[in-house]
């Protein structure tokens, strides 16, 4: 066992930490208030060569492994959870499945542009009536000649408006349930594609989330990802990896909340002394720090197993996602509590952390889905 980051990973973390403090944190509060997309930060990240962090170097990306990506996403999320999810989505749920399931032509067409930040990507599985129950999609795809026609509404898609290409799941054989799903690479310029309304969200307000409306959207056969009927498998494999990214995002938000709380507790005085001298505050800080470390270890373990490539990591990814996201909600709650009324005002970033934390137990598999995944593996093993 070795609990230390490698020199390279340590360097990555320090670089990101410095970058985030300088470029991301100062503008995150303002962008949140204005619900503005962090275009400048995306550009800077692309210049740093880290926008396509998980894309192989051969296609112009940084070629980070899962652990490296988790380290980087945690750092970004500490400054801005919105930016973290934007970057995580384009890497792990758009570029990721193209790397893993795409053919050479698809990789060449999309990966270099995603890596350079010329385009952003997204992933679209969820529908208005189908979230956790992902096998029952209403979106249909039928083949006519060398073109698939996709029709249906997709909901809660990250990177709408700014995204150029989306991995879209649709039913090619609806009667076969999960075995009848197929994945497609759908571009925003394809005829029949349009963005629907952009959601007005509680948190992650400078990320763009919304719906896709597909009306006989024409997708060339060359843009089918994998084989027909492979869609559910592609989606689940993609989400396994993505859950590690969301767990890392949760750890990053929590660390931001802890750091702000420590700083506040040192300077805020009550009853004649800084509040950090009261056990009531100290104990909250201790619990926050302990839970954050436990979560990070679960995240890094899942990432390490995924990087090995020869072992199952579904249960471990679910554990990391479940624990880290539930943890960040507790930690953000405590951070607001430590800040008192200031924590409820937008003057301090913990109010944003509190709102941003909330979605992490919901998207890319709710806590309930993670518990189902874990329990299933557990009960199989006895």
């Amino acid at each position: 066992m070795d609990f230390a980051l490698t020199e390279e990973q340590g360097l990555l973390r320090d670089t990101m930490r410095e970058f985030v403090s300088r470029e991301i944190s100062p503008e995150a509060g303002e962008l949140d208030r204005l619900s503005q997309f962090p275009s400048r930060a995306i550009q800077r990240l692309a210049e740093l060569g880290l926008l396509g962090m998980a894309i192989p170097e051969a296609f112009g990306g940084a070629g980070l492994d899962t652990l490296g990506s988790a380290v980087a996403i945690e750092e970004i999320a500490r400054g801005s959870a919105s930016l973290a999810v934007t970057v995580s989505v384009t890497n792990s749920v758009c570029a990721g499945p193209i790397v893993r399931f795409g053919n050479e032509d698809q990789r060449r067409r999309y990966l270099p542009r995603l890596a350079k930040g010329e385009i952003l990507g997204g992933f679209s599985l969820t529908e208005p009536d189908s979230g956790s129950d992902a096998a029952h999609l209403r979106t249909r795809a039928s083949l006519e000649g060398d073109t698939y026609l996709l029709t249906g509404d997709k909901a809660w898609v990250s990177n709408v408006q700014v995204g150029h290409v989306f991995v879209v799941l649709a039913a090619t054989r609806p009667e076969q349930g999960s075995h009848g799903l197929t994945a497609f690479l759908v571009e925003r310029d394809f005829p029949g594609f349009s963005f629907g309304k952009v959601e007005d969200k509680m948190g992650l307000r400078s990320s763009l989330t919304g719906s896709l409306e597909l009306q006989d959207c024409r997708v060339p056969v060359a843009n089918r990802l994998g084989e027909e009927g492979q869609g559910f498998k592609i989606a689940m494999a993609t989400l396994d990896g993505a859950r590690i990214g969301i767990a890392a995002q949760a750890v990053g938000i929590a660390r931001g909340a802890l750091q702000e709380s420590i700083a506040f507790a040192r300077q805020r005085k009550a009853f004649g002394r800084p509040i950090c001298q009261f056990q009531a505050i100290q104990f909250m800080l201790a619990d926050m720090a302990t839970a954050i470390d436990a979560a990070r270890l679960l995240v890094h373990r899942a990432a390490h197993l995924r990087d090995r490539g020869d072992v199952q990591f579904t249960k471990e990814a679910s554990m990391a996602k479940l624990f880290a996201t539930e943890m960040v909600n507790r930690v953000a709650y405590q951070a607001v509590q430590i800040h008192g009324a200031y924590g409820y005002s937008r003057e301090y970033p913990v109010e944003r952390y509190y709102r941003d934390a909330r979605v992490t137990t919901i998207y890319e598999g709710t806590s309930e889905i993670q518990r189902l995944v874990i329990a299933r593996r557990l009960l199989e093993s006895v």
């Binding site: 066992m1 980051l5 507790a265 100290q282 470390d293 270890l297 679960l298 624990f323």
Partner: protein
């Protein structure tokens, strides 16, 4: 970074897992009921060289690392939490300080037989009026010629009824508070040393907890551990390591809860199906499994940090705090999954529930762990 066990660690774990299932688990309920100290368990552990896991081989130990020790304590505790703490105390609270702070002569006389498990050791810091506030020692040791005269009462001493040797903390200079505390190695049979009342406990009932009374007890000056005034430092350093052992014990108890509850849920039927088919049960199991893994990772990180040779107080406190609370939460859930049966001592989860509670209290309460963690956080 590599968060997987090495092949050697897995071998040790599997060996002890098999041993504990075969030799320790079958008698755990018996010892729990009779409250008899499990001498035969100690003897069997000694045969497998589990009593001085981290002691160098030249002093009769196994020369293994702290992760190995944590794995061993987890496996023993999964079978019998009392045996887990008995072994942990001998390893971490007795052998460790003698190895770290003892003279060559003390190592020859005390470390070797304890590391081999021929003798059993204990650690006497707590007093009736000084638990978490350990600097407030009422026990005194006064130097007279080439002896110390020890007076005072120690309580809650794990292994006490069976111990051949005790490390006893006492004030040699009360005016110096923490800096006036010293550690003495006291042997059974020392004049003026007797056992006081047995402690009748909620859980870990057979770990031999007892009160120890020192009345003008004469201890040779050569039995001073370290130097006068070094006692508090020795105690804190020792407890840092001991906490990793208790964290491992807690992980073992939590795992026992999880495994028994999982198995039971697959056989118990209600409303026409096994209760494992209900999400209410599945979700409890999922939460338990996740927390057990997180607790083990924190424990192994603390062990690894200790093995790197630097400071590990923070990591040990985090592991101990988190793991012990996980053990308690897991025990609550396990009893709940068993329903009425969980409340009866026909099934082991009733014992796990009682055993789990102590992990939040001894070798530093959860509150002391939080103080240690917060102090570190606020320092830098």
């Amino acid at each position: 970074m590599d968060l997987e066990l090495t092949a050697e660690h897995r071998t040790i774990r599997d060996m002890v897992r098999d041993f504990a299932a075969r030799e320790i688990a079958p008698r755990a309920a018996h010892y729990d009921r009779t409250r008899e100290f499990p001498y035969d368990n100690v003897r069997k552990c000694a045969e497998l060289n589990l009593m001085g896991v981290m002691v160098p081989e030249q002093f009769g130990g196994s020369g293994l690392d702290t992760i190995s020790c944590a794995l061993i304590i987890e496996e023993l505790s999964r079978a019998c939490a009392s045996t887990g703490v008995i072994v942990s105390v001998n390893n971490s609270l007795f052998c460790h300080p003698v190895e770290r702070f003892g003279t060559e002569d003390q190592k020859q006389r005390f470390l070797i037989p304890h590391a081999k498990g021929e003798k059993i050791g204990c650690f006497c810091l707590s007093e009736p009026a000084a638990g978490s506030d350990a600097g407030n020692q009422q026990t005194t040791a006064v130097r007279r010629g080439d002896e110390y005269i020890l007076n005072g009462t120690k309580n809650f001493i794990t292994n006490g009824v069976a111990a051949d040797t005790a490390i006893v903390f006492a004030a040699t200079d009360k005016s110096k508070r923490h800096h006036g505390i010293s550690a003495l190695i006291v042997e059974k049979g020392a004049p003026g040393f007797r056992l006081g009342k047995d402690e009748v406990k909620l859980g870990i009932t057979c770990s031999g907890s007892v009160e120890m009374v020192f009345e003008d007890c004469r201890v040779p000056a050569t039995s001073l551990l370290g130097a006068e005034g070094l006692g508090f430092k020795i105690a804190m350093n020792t407890l840092d390591g001991g906490r990793i052992g208790i964290a491992a014990q807690a992980v073992g108890i939590a795992r026992a809860c999880l495994e028994e509850a999982t198995r039971y849920s697959k056989q118990r039927k209600a409303f026409g199906k096994t209760i494992s088919d209900f999400q209410a049960i599945q979700f409890m199991l999922a939460d338990m499994a996740t927390e057990v893994d997180a607790a083990r990772l924190l424990t192994h990180r603390a062990a690894w940090t200790k093995d790197q040779g630097g400071r590990f107080s923070l990591e040990a406190a985090q592991a101990k705090l988190f793991s012990s609370e996980v053990a308690m939460r897991s025990a609550v859930k396990a009893v709940q999954i068993f329903g009425g049966y969980g409340y009866m001592n026909d099934y082991p989860v009733e014992r796990y529930f009682r055993d789990a509670k102590i992990t939040e209290i001894y070798e530093g309460t959860s509150e002391i762990q939080r103080l240690v963690i917060a102090t570190t956080l606020l320092k830098d």
